[in-house]
Amino acid sequence: MTRPVQVIRPPSFSLRGIGQQVAMLVRHRDLLYTLTMHRIRVRYKQSVLGYFWAVLNPVLLLLIYAAIFSRLAKVPTNGVPYAVFAFSALLPWTFFSTGLSGATIGLPAHSNLLSRVYFPREILPLSYVFAALLDFAIAFVLLLALMFYYGFRLTPGALWAIPAMALLTVFLIGVALFASALQTRFRDVGVAMPLLLQLWMFATPIVYSRASIPESLRRWYDLNPLVAITETFRGALLHGAFPDWARIAECVGVCSLVSLVSYGWFKWVEATLVDVI
């Protein structure tokens, strides 16, 4: 049997090493899988409703938003029933916000594990991201049911929702790695996170449409990658619309850059993370 040879050197910031880091991560895929399932399993332990909560949560959220925005405030939705309009964007957003808030507290919550055994540290925040992705999958079935109820039919264009989700996942991983590494030194990140997420949500066309934003502000508004992703996701599912190529290309660029730099930085910080946690 050949023995693995490890060479440990002082940490350095390098984007070139990312290939090896990813290879290492792939070797630990079982751990990522186990921890992801662990998140889900633990969350509903000793709760009567169990996995039903995964469905119940988005439904309740949907009811609240539907009640507020369709009755009290009239939002232009391009003829789409408000419930479907809001829910179709709420799903990717919930994925993003659950994943990010989970990942932020992930490292400090496991400090006793971190100080005893090594594994690629990004697995902890990633496990929160993928657990949120599973929640998303469950709630997605609900969205399909809702769409059929209102008479929507899926077209081939709906497949564009898949790359939109992939892009969102890449972006979320980037933000989550950054936030979780920062949180190990500055607990302020976790404290500010709920407020930040609230702000971010209102800066994203979820409960309203991008059309409501004045033309003059859109340049700034579109800097938020979630705008293009949400619009693409919703447009694809509800109207079978093709993405706006220029904006999506820009978004791909931003998301991959954020993810790459964030991962490189995370791996740099990771090596001595235990010393400051």
């Binding site: 693995p4 002082p10 940490p11 079982d30 186990t34 594994f119 090596a271």
Partner: protein, 403 residues
């Protein structure tokens, strides 16, 4: 072939002042205070461990022993230098620390097994063995929060024992658990050694180091100060122990009007102390003030920390004049078994503590006549043939007739 190589490895810890600034300090001060405290836990440490070798590392608290283990297990990274590891490495630590209370024993075996580097398939293959070894039985499908602490420990250890590493890291493992559990640990370690695994053992238990290791290192202040045969290194460690003292709570108030300056011991001829032989113990002092009723005490502890015995100048004490001098204790016959004892040296004037040097030295009793158990009782014997077995000695008490 070396399994572990340390090439000029240094590790610096930084304590940022902002962290110690009180929360009440103004915000700008907490943000701007950038002065940092540096602390070098290791300084240019270099050593190799050969395949199949057992290396022991001894040193005082803070000498850098745990840092070496942390670097090897990649929990933290070195500041300078390079470490090469050839083989799968795992440490026999409390694996149960990775347990999640809400999950069942079985689920936790999967979780911990994977965290400690096995694949899910490996865990599945070893699961029957692990369960069998742990002796948990039906409880395996019960959440571990319902476990007793013993079951917790056993399950954790049986996972650790099935990690099957090429290189084993040991850190004071024998200090936890009940006696049967410690036996299991010891048996496992001996087995690993027999199979030719490489072992790195960090411990305060010098006797264990001497028993288990082929070679030892002595660390002090983050540097290697001595390297060689375990008994040579532990001896060096004992001698270096003379210059260091750490005070327990009750001794902090010591006025040190008289200070202990040195502790030494030998047999009557200046040689090694053995059971059945003699021992003289000498405590040097420096008195800054004259004092009446000063009592000199030497406490000997078992390696486990229990008080074994005490040498004293008696409750009344003696009058000490300013200046230096020494107190000598003489024991005509040493009743202790071979091994190492921890030493406290104290000067007291009841109930006041003048000076208390906590675990300031170790005392070594070398191998002498065969002794099992804790004490050596000097004895003689005679064999009388042909006597009736019922007759006891006159006036003696009958213990039991043994059949």
């Amino acid at each position: 072939m070396f399994d572990i190589e340390f090439n000029k490895v240094s590790k610096r810890y930084v304590r940022r002042k902002a962290e110690v600034a009180p929360a009440r300090a103004p915000l700008w001060e907490r943000l701007l205070r950038t002065r940092q405290d540096e602390f070098w836990a290791l300084r240019e440490v270099g050593f190799q461990v050969e395949r199949g070798e057992a290396l022991g590392i001894v040193g005082h608290n803070g000498a850098g022993k745990s840092t070496i283990l942390k670097l090897l297990s990649r929990i933290t990274a070195p500041t300078e230098g390079e470490i090469v590891i050839r083989g799968r490495l795992s440490s026999l630590i409390e694996v149960s620390s990775g347990f999640h209370a809400e999950l069942t024993g079985r689920e936790n075996v999967y979780l911990s097994g994977v965290i400690f580097g096995m694949s899910r398939r490996e865990v599945a293959a070893k699961l029957p063995d692990i369960l069998n070894f742990s002796g948990i039985g039906d409880f395996i499908d019960v959440p571990v929060k319902r476990y007793s602490s013993g079951m917790y420990l056993r399950l954790g250890f049986s996972i650790a024992a099935h990690l099957n590493p090429d290189i084993l890291l040991l850190d004071e493992v024998l200090a936890v658990g009940d006696v049967p559990f410690q036996w299991k640990c010891l048996e496992y370690i001996q087995q690993m050694k027999k199979e030719g695994r490489t072992i790195l053992f960090v411990s305060h238990d010098l006797a264990a180091i001497e028993r288990l290791c082929d070679r030892a290192l002595l660390l002090s202040g983050g540097r290697i100060v001595c390297e060689g045969k375990p008994n040579k290194v532990t001896l060096e460690y004992q001698q270096s122990a003379l210059s260091v003292s750490q005070l327990p709570e009750h001794a902090r108030t010591a006025s040190r009007q008289i200070e202990c300056t040195r502790f030494s011991y030998s047999n009557a001829n200046g040689g090694a102390v053995r059971p059945g032989g003699s021992m003289s113990v000498r405590v040097d002092y420096a008195a800054h003030k004259p004092m009446q009723h000063a009592v000199f005490n030497v406490y000997l502890y078992w390696p486990s920390g229990y008080l074994c015995t005490q040498l004293t100048t008696g409750e009344k004490g003696a009058d000490i004049a300013t200046g230096s001098g020494y107190v000598e204790f003489f024991c005509p016959i040493v009743n202790l078994r071979p091994g190492l004892f921890l030493v406290d040296v104290a000067i007291e004037r009841y109930p006041e503590v003048i000076d208390w040097r906590h675990r300031c030295a170790t005392l070594r009793i070398d191998e002498g006549p065969v002794v099992s158990g804790d004490l050596h009782m000097p004895h003689e014997h005679s064999i009388v043939a042909g006597a009736p077995s019922s007759g006891a000695l006159d006036g003696s008490q009958v213990g039991a007739d043994i059949r």
